[in-house]
C-alpha cells in the first residue's frame, strides 16, 4: 500500500442512529467510481438470560489501543481489497436493546471486493479490538460480561 489513510475517529457516544447512516450513504453519492456498498450493522439483541432479558449493553474500551487497532484494520483492508472508501463506527457507553452499536461501511467499484472486505473487517474487529461489553439484564441491576467467541 503506497497510500496511507488518515486515522479516523471510530468511537461515538451511545447508539448509532439510522439518520447518521443515511447521511454517510448520501455523502458517497458524489464518488462516482463506486458501484457497490456493503454495510454491516450490529444491533443489540434482547437475549434471555437467567435474570431476565438483556436491556442494553454498556461498552468500554482501551480507547487509544482500540483506535490504533481500528486504523491498522482499515489499512490492512485497503491493502487487501480494491476499496474506494471504508468507514467504521463503534459505540461507547450505553446502547439499549434494538439499537445499533457497530456500523461498517465499505465502498468499492465492484461487489466482490465490498462483500469480502465487509466480512474481513467485522471478523477482525471482533477478535482484535479491545472493547468490553457489559450486558445489562432485567430491571434489578444484574449484568453479565459478554465475550466474542
Amino acid at each position: 500500500m503506497e497510500k496511507q489513510h488518515k486515522p479516523k475517529k471510530v468511537f461515538v457516544e451511545g447508539p448509532i442512529s439510522p439518520d447518521f447512516i443515511a447521511k454517510s450513504i448520501a455523502s458517497h453519492q458524489s464518488k462516482t467510481g463506486i458501484g457497490a456498498h456493503a454495510i454491516f450493522l450490529g444491533q443489540i439483541r434482547a437475549d434471555e438470560k437467567e435474570g431476565g432479558a438483556v436491556s442494553g449493553i454498556a461498552y468500554t474500551a482501551y480507547e487509544e489501543m482500540a483506535e490504533q487497532t481500528f486504523h491498522e484494520i482499515r489499512e490492512a483492508a485497503f491493502a487487501r481489497f480494491e476499496l474506494t472508501c471504508l468507514h467504521i463506527y463503534h459505540s461507547l457507553g450505553l446502547v439499549p436493546t434494538g439499537q445499533i452499536s457497530l456500523f461498517v461501511f465499505v465502498s468499492s467499484p465492484h461487489r466482490r471486493a465490498a462483500f469480502e472486505a465487509s466480512e474481513y473487517i467485522v471478523e477482525e474487529i471482533k477478535t482484535k479490538v479491545p472493547i468490553f461489553a457489559k450486558e445489562l439484564i432485567g430491571d434489578n441491576g444484574e449484568f453479565e460480561w459478554k465475550r466474542n467467541v
Binding site: 450490529g42 468500554t60 479490538v129 472493547i131 468490553f132 460480561w145 465475550r147
Partner: protein, 79 residues
C-alpha cells in the same frame, strides 16, 4: 522500575481500580508481571486476560521496558 498499569472491564471490578503505578526492582518480563499482579489480586485467578504493553499484546517471555503502560485486557466483546 516503574510501570503504569491499566485494568479494563471485569478486571477493573476485580481489582477495584482502573489504574495504578507499579514499582519493581529490576527488569520484568510479561510473565513475571502476570505472576505479580495475580499475587496482589488473588481474585484474578481463573480470569482470562491478555497483557498489552504500550498497546501491543505481548507473550509472557517478552521484556517490559521501563515506564511502559501495561494493560490487563479481558476477552474482547466489540461489535
Amino acid at each position: 522500575m516503574s510501570l503504569h498499569v491499566l485494568y479494563f472491564g471485569m478486571l477493573a471490578e476485580v481489582t477495584g481500580l482502573a489504574e495504578e503505578n507499579w514499582l519493581n526492582n529490576g527488569q520484568l518480563t510479561v510473565g513475571d508481571f502476570r505472576a505479580q499482579v495475580m499475587q496482589k489480586y488473588p481474585a484474578l485467578q481463573g480470569k482470562k486476560f491478555k497483557i498489552a504493553v504500550n498497546q501491543r499484546i505481548l507473550e509472557d517471555l517478552a521484556d517490559i521496558a521501563p515506564q511502559s503502560e501495561v494493560a490487563l485486557l479481558p476477552p474482547f466483546a466489540g461489535g
